[in-house]
Symmetry: C2
Subunit: 379 residues, 2 copies
């Protein structure tokens, strides 16, 4: 009998939670009306939308009208960055970090072609941004700072509250890509001192094709989808009610389990990090040793191809990643690992395992053995 | 016992088809991996994506690499228009019509602020664009023509093949918003002579939050979502596999039932048009008497508020619309009806009924009686 594969790639995608699916279910074929319609089923759909918005706002401790539902994390990041830059006529200065997700860095590349000045602050060997570097980079024409909450490849958590506080004191907008945070890190926007925050539903057991952008009241976000004027004119398109209900349900659920689950996962994570380094003594832990996502363990194994390792491990029934899902297949070494000071060869030997709701100690114990065997074979 | 409401608003939203839902179902919680991941479940997801793309291409008679999956009709229209205009550095001239959907017309308003010249061609009393008007509007710097296939409010079908042929002869790109067409009108891109074509999944019994853009090979569409480089760099974002599988399944299903269903619906539509005009003699049919969507009947009733009528009909168990879902609630009269030459007062008395898979003759017979009663009461 073939054992069911063990999924250790929760930073790339999570399965839709059963309870979340149940919450979405009525909105596919029964309560399917367009929430802009003025007939009774349309009004019912509008009510479901409004309730979903309130649930999300409850988690973030913000106002419901500060929530914009999008199609995912990439759209949330693009809308935050381009929407703000366009409100500034693409003039002025933005600060970001060297280890952001492609959906931030590619927008920064685009900004350069549009005339926006971009300062990219570096990180230390653990992938941490020094808040002083951000402060030092601020100019008179800086209108936006975008630093991710926690890194998707190496799990390193940034001091967002500290950076956000310094940035907002100067009346500059603070955005954080918090795609990896729900269910793992606190999300109160006031305590984090952020004005914009991005989320992707399928990273927290919600449906794919749904995202959230928090935008503080008074923030002028120019719409990037123009049309029927939905989402208070900030994002036109018929609202994806099943997706929105799913995202909101999953978001609230992730928050309600957060402390307990983060504690459970960080114990498992600590165990697998120790075990991997014990079994493969030249393994290098990437990212910060303590300030890291509770579910994330990432390594470089010298002399091993990360991609080959991922494929071998998958054949043995363990699904992990070598860096982020988005950049796999690209033969370039991870920009995150290079920014941490690793050389290209070392960076190519990277492996990321990200734990989740289904992860158990027994799975990780089997995984540690198989990892040791496969690395031995590949060397 | 309360009768189940009769839904006559299929142009605003359709219920997700049961067979489509079954096709989507495995991709929510079981085969949930990110298609960019290189492990086995990631490759399975990539395969599902590739098969969905082929199914859509089969319907349009195009190549799979000409299909871009989006989050809906609004995004498809925005990507087509802005993506092409940006490739032309927002310089030059675009032609469109006065009766386009807001997701086209609002982009045109934006273009004017960016320096693009826009010519809006008018329509006749039936909402038809004269192909000669389009030809006459072409300038040396015209790079795009965008005319909708069939109107969402009045159902009028345009001579897209004729317009597209004339436009493409001059090596100008032809876009058509075909959101209302699937399952009702033929979609072969070669016969229609279009280079860009937009669709929204929830208009053809597919899921909300999913759309399709056809973009002919060689067309430079600048991405409007930047990031991981999905959809061949034209639309970054983790692919919404359940949504994409659902959209493709629904698209192929709509096409396979098209001729039979279009014929069934047009008979029902002809019946309700005749019956309504018989019962309410001063009713005015809006849109074209013959060149109209098989499922669409639209009227103006002098001296009646369309919004009040829709609410009264909904209370009586018949869900219809007064214009498009997107513009309801807005107190302005429909730009489509005004473009057809109706005055503001007449336009405010509009009612649209759009038939669908669940519509029966018996429903329409009951509806005709109730419509007559309610109009009498409102007058």
């Amino acid at each position: 009998m073939k054992t069911r594969p063990v999924y250790l790639d929760h930073a790339a995608a999570t399965p839709l939670d059963g309870a979340v699916f149940s919450a979405m279910r009525p909105y596919f074929s029964k309560q399917f009306a367009n929430p802009s319609s003025i007939h009774a089923p349309g009004k019912e759909a509008a009510k479901a939308l409004s309730e979903a918005r309130k649930r999300v706002a409850g988690v973030l401790a913000c106002n419901p009208d500060e929530i914009i539902f999008t199609s995912g994390g990439t759209e949330s990041n693009n809308l935050a960055l381009v929407g703000i830059a366009e409100a500034h006529n693409f003039k002025g200065h933005i600060i970001t970090s060297a280890i952001e997700h492609a959906s931030v860095l590619e927008v920064m590349e685009y900004f350069k072609t549009r005339g926006v000045s971009v300062t990219v602050v570096g990180v230390d060997e653990y992938g941490r941004v020094n808040p002083r570097d951000v402060k030092a980079a601020i100019r008179d024409d800086t209108f936006l700072v975008s630093i991710m909450y926690a890194n998707n490849e190496i799990g390193t958590i940034q001091s967002i509250a500290k950076i956000g506080s310094a940035v907002q004191k100067q009346e500059i907008l603070m955005h954080t890509d918090a795609v990896q945070a729900p269910g793992l890190l606190p999300l109160n926007v006031n305590k984090l001192h952020v004005g914009l925050m991005s989320f992707s539903s399928h990273k927290f057991y919600g449906p794919k094709g749904a995202g959230i952008l928090y935008a503080k009241r008074g923030t002028q976000v120019m719409p990037q989808l123009r049309g029927g004027g939905q989402e208070r004119g900030r994002r036109s398109s018929t609202e994806n009610i099943p997706g929105i209900v799913g995202a909101a349900t999953a978001f609230a659920r992730a928050e309600s389990h957060r402390e307990k689950e983060a504690s459970r996962l960080s114990k498992l994570r600590n165990w697998i990090i120790k075990e991997a380094i014990f079994r493969i003594p030249d393994a290098l832990l990437t990212g910060h040793p303590r300030e890291r996502l509770p579910n994330s363990a990432s390594f470089c194994f010298p002399g091993v191809s990360g991609e080959h390792l991922v494929m071998r491990l998958s054949e043995r029934g363990f699904d992990c990643s070598s860096g982020s899902a988005c950049s796999e297949g690209a033969l370039e070494p991870s920009h995150v690992l290079l920014a941490c000071g690793l050389d290209k060869n070392a960076a190519k030997g990277s492996l990321r395992i990200t734990l989740g709701a289904s992860t158990t100690q027994a799975q990780l114990a089997r995984f540690a053995l198989v990892l040791q065997e496969e690395i031995k074979k590949l060397r």
